[in-house]
């Protein structure tokens, strides 16, 4: 069964994520980040940040609510039982600190088929409350046996 490509270019309603100090600390601790700018507001302020700063990969936390509706969109048609996370890219352009509100929009960038596998590529753009782009992400999910 070939992949369906009608969803290419489709965008989903933006989601807004309120970044919390304790959530940054919880994430930083889980991934082993020991830099005090992620954990201690005073250390973050001494380094010039308004509050604790998120590790770059915290992008997955504020972007996930915007990605999930695209992954589960029936028009995209991913067969989850056969899906693997094939690749990931992030480009960061501004720091994210506790107290920020990050709004993310997801677009279906590409759906294609090679060698019996479906490639589903989603792009997410995240901006802060001042309208500055903080991070653009690209998810590549591979579905075997399409």
């Amino acid at each position: 069964m070939p992949v369906t490509t009608s969803a290419i270019g489709k965008s989903y309603p933006p989601t807004t994520y309120a970044v919390g100090r304790e959530k940054i600390k919880e994430y930083a601790s889980a991934v082993g980040e020991a830099n005090p700018v992620h954990l201690d507001p005073e250390a973050a302020k001494a380094a010039g940040y308004a509050d604790v700063v998120a590790p770059p990969m915290f992008a997955v936390v504020y972007k996930s609510p915007a990605v999930i509706p695209a992954l589960f969109d029936p028009e995209v048609g991913i067969n989850f039982a056969m899906m693997v996370h094939g690749g990931q890219e992030f480009v960061w352009s501004a720091p994210v600190v506790a107290g920020d509100e990050i709004t993310t929009t997801t677009t279906v960038k590409d759906i294609s088929e090679r060698g019996g596998m479906g490639f589903y590529v989603f792009e997410t753009t995240s901006v802060n409350q001042r309208g500055e782009t903080v991070c653009v992400g690209e998810w590549t999910n591979i579905v075997r046996g399409v």
Binding site: Y27, P55, P56, V60, W92
Partner: protein
């Protein structure tokens, strides 16, 4: 900001995720896919047991870059491919090598392996040098 030269190897990052790491990472990230947190479920779908979240392993690759770059803002771009599967209670080794320094950016080739298997491969990072 750190200084980099072409051909330089960045410090290796070694970390051994403990038995319950996938549960803490699931809570921290919001990804509760049972293949990461339920041993029985994972075995039931043909996996050796609970597997690491790919984005956890990518976070280890990112950490090797920000440690070398001098802080969270030094990492400007990271692109990875996931292969195979990462497992708890086995050491992850992240290696990184500078391939080009140009226009205030060090381009780095990096990978993560476990027991000789690359679980993140063909990864490219860009670290700000100024």
């Amino acid at each position: 900001m750190a200084e980099f030269t072409e051909g330089q190897e960045l410090p290796e990052l070694r970390v051994t995720p403990d038995r319950f790491l996938t549960v803490r990472y699931a809570g921290a990230s919001g990804d509760f896919n049972p293949i990461h947190i339920d041993e029985e479920f994972a075995k039931g779908v043909g996996l050796p047991g609970k597997i690491l979240h790919g984005l956890y392993t990518m976070a280890q690759v990112a950490r090797a870059q920000t440690d070398a770059g001098g802080g969270p803002e030094s990492l400007k771009r990271l692109k990875v491919q996931f292969r195979g599967m990462g497992l708890p209670e086995q050491e992850i080794v992240v290696t990184s090598k500078v391939v080009e320094v140009t226009g205030g950016v060090a381009k780095v080739e990096t990978a993560a392996e476990q027991n000789g298997n690359q679980i993140v491969r063909n990864a490219e990072a860009e670290i700000a040098t100024s």
